[in-house]
Symmetry: C2
Subunit: 518 residues, 2 copies
Amino acid sequence: MAQTLHIPVDRRNPVPLARQIQAHLERLIQERRLAPGVKLPATRELARELGVNRATVTLAYDELVAAGRARAHVGQGTFVEGPLTATAVPVPARAAAAAGESVAVDWSGVLSRAAHIIAGDAARKRPPALPARPPQGLISFAGGMPDSGMFPTDAFRRALNAVIREEGQELLQYYPVGGYPPLRRFLSSYLLRAGVEARPEEILIVNGSQQGFDLIARTLLDPGDAVAIEQPTYPRAMQVFRSFGARLVPVPLGDDGPRVDVLERVLERHAPKLFYCQPTAHNPTGLTMSAEARRRLLEVCARRPVAIVEDAFDGGLHYGPRPPAPLKALDRAGRVVYIGTFSKILFPGLRLGWVVAPRVVLERLEAAKQLADIQTSALIQAAVYHFCERRLLERHLGRIAAEYGRRQRRLLESLAQRMPRDVRWTETRGGFSLLLTLPDGLDAGALLPRAVARGVSFTPGPAFFADQGGDETLRLSFSSVPGSRIDEGVRRLADVIREARRRPRERVESERAAVPLV
Amino acid sequence: MAQTLHIPVDRRNPVPLARQIQAHLERLIQERRLAPGVKLPATRELARELGVNRATVTLAYDELVAAGRARAHVGQGTFVEGPLTATAVPVPARAAAAAGESVAVDWSGVLSRAAHIIAGDAARKRPPALPARPPQGLISFAGGMPDSGMFPTDAFRRALNAVIREEGQELLQYYPVGGYPPLRRFLSSYLLRAGVEARPEEILIVNGSQQGFDLIARTLLDPGDAVAIEQPTYPRAMQVFRSFGARLVPVPLGDDGPRVDVLERVLERHAPKLFYCQPTAHNPTGLTMSAEARRRLLEVCARRPVAIVEDAFDGGLHYGPRPPAPLKALDRAGRVVYIGTFSKILFPGLRLGWVVAPRVVLERLEAAKQLADIQTSALIQAAVYHFCERRLLERHLGRIAAEYGRRQRRLLESLAQRMPRDVRWTETRGGFSLLLTLPDGLDAGALLPRAVARGVSFTPGPAFFADQGGDETLRLSFSSVPGSRIDEGVRRLADVIREARRRPRERVESERAAVPLV
């Protein structure tokens, strides 16, 4: 690591060297590129570095101290004090002497179609205006993440220690793209318990399910291709497919999964390359398809060359009877690509998930993964394997499933008790959330600022809809709300809805806030 | 986690339930989907799960044991024994009864253009045939990775422990895409020492430089766009650009960086969206451009709306005098996008790097990153920050730079001493490698199997060339070869070259091996 600053000094410049050094440092401090408290390089080092006399550097530092930009501590060195506040201070012009002025790049003219699509999507689904600071005591049903209060952080720390001690050198070196072999083998048995038969070499380790979507999109989609999706569905999956130029064709959810009659027509008319679905603990609705509906879905797809991308919420986070086997377990034609993740059952921050696919597809996904980021951290993979192998995942899952199940039941009970008659919601069976439909004429986006003002928040529905729909829906996530706060949150929301029905459609203008959308 | 196996039992099927269960398990064992040693679910659990009598499961298990497929340990349970070896054993047909047969998906008809490009690239640049098992004592100049023998593994383990203890809950939850703020601030000062002025919000944390290439490609490139590259250059960067449909236009390296006269013509004729280069410790050549050449390069680009993607090998791994400031430090127009990584200076396996770009571009890269994999592990980021903040990176860099410098000098000395007169090589200044050019008529790919047979290996040059060139070149990486083995490796290589010149062009046919290409 370089020990000093790189300061351009120009001996042909009539400005004395000390003054050049001082001016450069002043600008860095003024622009906060050198932050207050940072120690400047020792004069001896900087002088050697710049090829100047040490006295020259000392002089420059003295001037900085005199100007109040730095402070000298005897025996310790010189430290940045901070920029002067007034704009009146003449800031040295940004080294215009150097390199000759050049034409600025017009970045907007250089952006790819994908970049434009991504930006357009972000603008269209912008979360509604919210106060910049949520009121104290806000009960948030907005974030679809696991409750970090239940994280088995310390057990995982020990797992990390164990694997670094045992095989740190290998894990921290480059590693084969497919994944850490013991983790692939573990997943192979783990999946088998749900009926999914996948050999280790049919499993690719990825950075969470999000990278799974991304690799599938690059491997299968060309601009203009159709992709059939359930509606509503997970926003970031839609965004990825769209960013690769796909046209999204929605298939509405019916009483028991996506409507197969619509799907059949979509397959016929649009010949989509893939159908993306979440048969178990669907996000945002929390619904789970019956075994019968799964069979019908596969039958409809059997007659077409369409791939099914099955995004699987772990069956362990299903709070009623055990969910039916995944589509992948019933898939005889090898048309299902199955995506799983540790984000919900363990830690989102690990960025660890997996894709199961026929070997012929998996090879392509591996090649794409290698270009995307070479590999997923083997250290993280090994630690998770170590954690799982000791049955700690099993124990953790038992604990969190019990708690999430309680929260889910409490939410359903509170809704039944407190909501106006014409409010409806999905009978969530698993996962983290449900979708609520407001009475006629109410708009979830417009409602949100009022709700936040009353101390409750949620995610407005439109983000989950590919087309313009969903205005009257909102997602309630129960995973991060302590059980004791759920009823109060529902009470507040019910009040807001009742009140809004009396005074409909008035938009509250305020700053936009970022509601995490997961 | 499900505690049991998902076994389809069909009560309408005339086959007894116990036999159905047994047949299913037999198939799983035969296909090695249930591995030897795996414990079968307790009979009570499996019976409850399947909704059958416990005696039914016990009967099925007994049959498995009788058939030698499983073994019962009293008080412990029943364990898989293994598949029978002979093909004579009738394997139950794969549940054809289920779900009705469907048309297999023709995956090759579903693949994207990108997938075809990736596969084509892989096939074209296939490493030459090598014996499956390298001979004992092979001296490998092939892999461009740091020497894991010098990894500061234990210090990093302690850093991980500290950050999990202090802020594990936050680090393991979802995290903002831009990166761990203290790491971004650290990089801001770290880069400043090399003259690069980047505010923390102009720095995006990514999964190694590879993801940097990928995000830049998606953000800037459409199919058909031209990308100018140095030739030779880093293969995976070329592959990424090509996978997004770009046309690569090579600019040959001259005595001091890419030939600006050629670059100028390329900019005029092809109007590339970006120019990818490695001004410092270039891979594969190890060359470093002079300050003067850097200025000329920027001048030539200043007249065109072209972005420069600067792939920066850390200046700390430069073994002569300090390298000139990066292009990014001289960039007044905001046209340089700068990519750095911890892979060479710390651990490749972390997958941790950064991209510096004007905020207007960085926002787009962030949006693309969010769709690619939501974020880079905050845990890893925090641990690396903790490591760096305690000046451990500085200390580590000092140690490894001294050692790599010794290896580099030894390689250059050995080459000078042992190679035939008409062998040439680049005067590497930093990084991990150099490029060697064979005497007329010799082909590096053809030479490799002979070299390996003699106990020395390298990476043939064509992988580093966009067009068909480079056949007569090869890369020698010194980073992972112990200093004491370098001279012997060069001696062997020189012998192989001398011998090949006597008997040129005879191809050795053998199995293909995977030479890691980094």
